[in-house]
Subunit: 199 residues, 2 copies
């Protein structure tokens, strides 16, 4: 009531971000968002075509950054692709950790929605780059686990500043990922492949 300047659009966006972060996308109703802003649900739908439009406008900067990282990786060979992907992804995770946090546990749902259709393919390419384009189980498992783990948890470290978190994540990635180097000999399945990581 008595809204000086029609900044309602931005207020709705901010409220949606806050609610999504707490109760998730599917778990947040337009009514919830409207209540938090202090307007009617119809007003939310006056400013945004539908619920999904709200989400994609909220995620636009992050989406653009991911697309840009994907383009930077495209065409790079195993070794360089892995390094660029790892450092680029850690950077995104740190910069956007608040926004990523609000997708907690909703990646599967969101990737199915039209606005995020191509993100599915991008994330697959990212995982492949993390694995250094290696088909070896150890490389693939490490790549997916680390990537998903970072995406899922980067918003939880409120007590760390950006530099501390980046440092910790980069260290983890360097230790965890297996170098693409020369593919291990097939046949023997349980070779103890020691340590030697360091991206």
């Amino acid at each position: 009531m008595a809204r000086a300047v029609p900044e309602t659009h931005a207020e709705i966006l901010a409220a949606a971000g806050r609610r999504f972060a707490v109760t998730g996308y599917k778990g947040t109703s337009l009514q919830d968002i409207a209540r938090e802003v202090g307007v009617s649900k119809a007003t939310v739908l006056y400013h945004f075509a539908n619920k999904e439009a709200l989400l994609s406008e909220l995620m636009a900067p992050e989406l653009a950054a991911v697309v840009e990282l994907d383009e930077r990786i495209a065409g790079l060979g195993g070794d360089r692709a892995q390094r660029v992907a790892a450092e680029g992804f850690v950077d995104l995770a740190v910069r956007f950790r608040r926004q990523i946090a609000l997708l907690r546990g909703e990646f599967p749902v969101l990737l199915q929605q039209p606005a995020f259709a191509h993100v599915q393919q991008i994330s697959e390419r990212l995982v492949a780059a993390f694995a250094g384009h290696s088909p070896h189980p150890a490389a693939r498992v490490a790549a997916l686990v680390v990537l998903a783990g970072i995406a899922e948890t980067c918003g939880e470290f409120d007590d760390l500043d950006d530099d501390e978190l980046r440092e910790a994540l980069l260290g983890l990635v360097r230790r965890a990922l297996v170098p693409p180097a020369d593919p291990p000999p097939p046949g023997s399945s349980s070779t103890q492949d020691g340590s030697t990581t360091t991206v």
Copy 2:
């Protein structure tokens, strides 16, 4: 139609598992489950008090295993706790990867439900054990990322058999987690702490 033996209970449970795995807990309706079995929704609610009862009966064995792991870790010091937790958790992840997969992206929601209330505390203790009870950011970040990453993705490696997956996960955990050993000197924030992991 023409149900020889009343194995409906088990069929509903199995169908619920399948549906939850695809569309998630919140994204699956009792109607969906009933349709898959070929019975009415009322039948589902005849065999199970409510939707949550369905989930907790579905997860009973996994829950028991996690509780048992938690008890095994209790009272162990940093070094031993980390090794036991890591190997125990990897073992659970491999054994129950199908069941864990059906919780994809629903851990936050599920942990809030009464039937899973104490799992929240258990998982916190597990993360602490993964970090070797170390407060160092590198240890905490590695612990949470790896644990969440494994939980989130262990159901995705359909092409790997149990031994292959266990091998890959154990390798990853040994590389990624930082040993609790002697706590690093506070003050300097950006020490390159090399490699040397091996749980």
